[in-house]
């Protein structure tokens, strides 16, 4: 019984927070400031609690399993939701449904936790649904804006479609292997055409969620229409969670057919990097721009996944952590500007430096890190991804990825140039930065600088992945 509480600690905390929020909602009226302070405190507790009393093991017949690596992944996600919550302070302060917003976000986080911990396709699917359906409602949280409703509609329809593909794949796998547990599937999966077909459907479902290129069409519209907080949540947290599962599913469950999925990933990553980059160059809206930039980033992550299992897992988790800091730094500034002025066009950012030097620097550092300019962490992240990909000896893929990194400098630095150098008679006026977003932005900048320089982090993740390769599947 104590095992139950310790192993499911993180999920239980989230559930308790959801219920606290429900109780507050039912209780007497509270001001938004009080609510936001309370929620941010709870999220901080949730993040801090992830570091204590960790134990590895399984529960409920392998439906739920946890390892140090999984705990680390969950901690990364908890950190992300804390930063996003701090950043969206100025937007939520004037919103009428603060608690509902957090209930939705936390239930998606709960879904992601269960998804990451799942040892069974049924649990995995349920976690995935729990992590997408409430997000569609959250995407609609700019209740007056038509674009927001459009984004929610597109998100729910495309995710329903991808869930359909995923379920079809799962049912074919169940039909051919007769089991839903990951361990059982690994022993039964072969190069049988039907199983390969099922795997392709499963891959398509995954690809939808992380917006890999042939399945990316929903991304830009949804990112543009949703409130900035939800956009950053979609681009960092939900993508990160699916990537964590994707990596572990590929390397463990579908290990027997790794030569097949290697070729698929190779093609997908080349397409994703090139098309994400080409479309990012053309964007004028900064949220659409960040959407395509995130597509291109996923392409680089796929390059890392094509590598061998341990290096691949390490580099992907390390990169997601860096990507979280850098993308949230960029989105944090965009969110402040959007909440105060409603401006989301890249041209509006011209000469931003003259009025808001601090925000300009944060945005610039975030963009430098996304591009992968050496002193920032983004460089190390991409370096390790490419190194992992190079382990397979496919230098064609690495060359294409490296060339595209150079292309990506162009569009990231174009924005930096607009901020610092372009003349503009009416730059965005000086913005007051409230305390919480300021803390969040400093956290991001510190993260960008330190994650790259403190080599202990990479080594730590690397040591955990070594264990993760063997432990969770010894059980049966």
């Amino acid at each position: 019984m104590t095992d139950f509480f310790i192993l499911m600690k993180q999920e239980l905390i989230i559930m308790v927070i959801i219920f606290i929020l429900l109780a507050i909602k039912i209780g007497r009226y509270r001001s938004n400031e009080w609510l936001l302070d309370m929620v941010n405190l709870l999220l901080l507790v949730n993040f801090a609690a992830g570091f204590f009393f960790n134990k590895e093991g399984m529960l409920f017949n392998d439906m739920f399993r946890t390892t140090s690596l999984i705990v680390l992944e969950k901690n990364i996600l908890s950190l992300g939701i804390l930063i996003i919550s701090l950043q969206s302070y100025s937007w939520l302060k004037n919103h009428k449904h603060v608690l509902e917003f957090y209930i939705l976000l936390l239930s998606t986080l709960l879904g992601m936790f269960f998804m990451i911990s799942s040892g069974n396709l049924l649990m995995f699917y349920l976690g995935l649904e729990l992590s997408t359906i409430p997000l569609a409602a959250a995407a609609n949280f700019d209740l007056q804006k038509k674009k927001s409703s459009e984004a929610a509609m597109k998100l729910i329809i495309s995710s329903a479609f991808s869930s359909g593909l995923l379920l079809f794949g799962i049912s074919l796998i169940y039909g051919t292997t007769g089991t839903l547990t990951f361990t059982g599937i690994t022993t039964h999966i072969t190069h049988d055409p039907l199983q390969l077909f099922a795997f392709i459907l499963l891959l398509a479902g995954f690809a939808f969620k992380i917006s890999v290129v042939p399945f990316h069409l929903w991304t830009a519209d949804v990112y543009e229409g949703s409130p900035v907080a939800v956009t950053s949540y979609l681009s960092v947290i939900s993508k990160g969670a699916v990537l964590f599962v994707f990596v572990s599913v590929l390397y463990t469950v579908f290990k027997p057919i790794s030569d097949s999925w290697y070729n698929m990933l190779f093609l997908l990553s080349v397409l994703t990097i090139i098309i994400g980059n080409l479309f990012a160059i053309r964007q004028t809206n900064i949220k659409r721009f960040l959407a395509f930039s995130s597509i291109a980033q996923v392409g680089f992550i796929l390059v890392g996944i094509t590598g061998t299992s341990q290096l691949g897992t390490t580099s992907v988790i390390y990169f997601v952590l860096i990507y979280l800091f850098s993308n949230l730094a960029a989105f944090g500034v965009v969110s402040l500007v959007s909440a105060a002025t409603g401006k989301e066009d890249i041209n509006d950012y011209k000469n931003f430096y003259q009025t808001n030097p601090v925000l300009s620097w944060v945005l610039a550092i975030g963009l430098f890190s996304l591009a992968g300019v050496p002193p920032t962490a983004g460089f190390f992240g991409k370096f390790f991804l490419l190194m992992s990909g190079a382990g397979q000896g496919n230098y064609f893929l690495i060359t294409i990825a490296a060339l595209n990194m150079v292309i990506s400098f162009y569009y990231y630095l174009r924005i930096v140039k607009a901020i610092f150098m372009d003349a503009n008679d009416h730059p965005i006026e000086k913005l007051a930065i409230p305390g919480f977003p300021k803390i969040a932005l400093y956290m991001c900048v510190a993260g960008i600088v330190l994650t790259g320089l403190v080599s202990y982090l990479y080594d730590h993740i690397h040591s955990l992945t070594q264990v993760a390769d063997t432990v969770p599947f010894i059980g049966k």
Partner: protein, 167 residues
């Protein structure tokens, strides 16, 4: 030919035919009605497999509730044969080619699947689909997913209420 075999082929033909009619009918209301026939035929298949609970739920939820919702929406949007958008020929051609290749792959993949050759569905036997067994599995082996889906419903409800509010 035993009665189950006759029933099986009859239901299969009915399901396929009405599924095709869903696509072919110009009037959206007719499409929905044909879809209800599809659901009935599939429920018949479930009964043949001795999965009574699934059959009843399929009827109540899909043929009953969801299809009524569809009809409501179609009637509120005032769709009919005249407002049906005309797709251009290239689009139709592309759809036919991609759908056709998917069908081709599915058929060949299922024919070559080693697990499936020489196997037939277990008709009229097995008691996995009976309500008591399903309930036992749901509350013992699958209790975690069952409990988690309650959180899903809670958040879906919260989301729906927020979206539905006017202010």
């Amino acid at each position: 030919m035993s009665i189950t075999v006759v029933l099986f082929w009859f239901l299969t033909a009915l399901a396929l035919l009405s599924a095709i009619m869903v696509l072919l009918s110009k009037n959206p209301v007719h499409s929905v009605l044909w879809l209800i026939v599809v659901f009935f035929a599939i429920s018949g298949h479930y009964i043949l497999l001795n999965a009574q609970f699934l059959a009843i739920v399929n009827l109540i939820v899909y043929a009953g509730a969801i299809m009524v919702l569809f009809l409501f929406v179609i009637m509120l949007m005032n769709l009919n044969a005249e407002t049906e958008p005309q797709k251009n020929t290239w689009l139709k051609l592309a759809g036919a080619i991609s759908g056709g290749s998917l069908l081709l792959i599915l058929v060949s993949v299922i024919r070559s699947a080693t697990d499936m050759t020489g196997r037939t569905a277990q008709v009229g036997e097995g008691n996995i689909g009976l309500i008591s067994n399903l309930g036992k599995a749901l509350f013992s082996e699958y209790v975690v997913p069952f409990e988690i889906s309650s959180v899903l419903f809670l958040s879906a409800m919260v989301g729906a209420v927020v979206i539905g509010k006017k202010d």
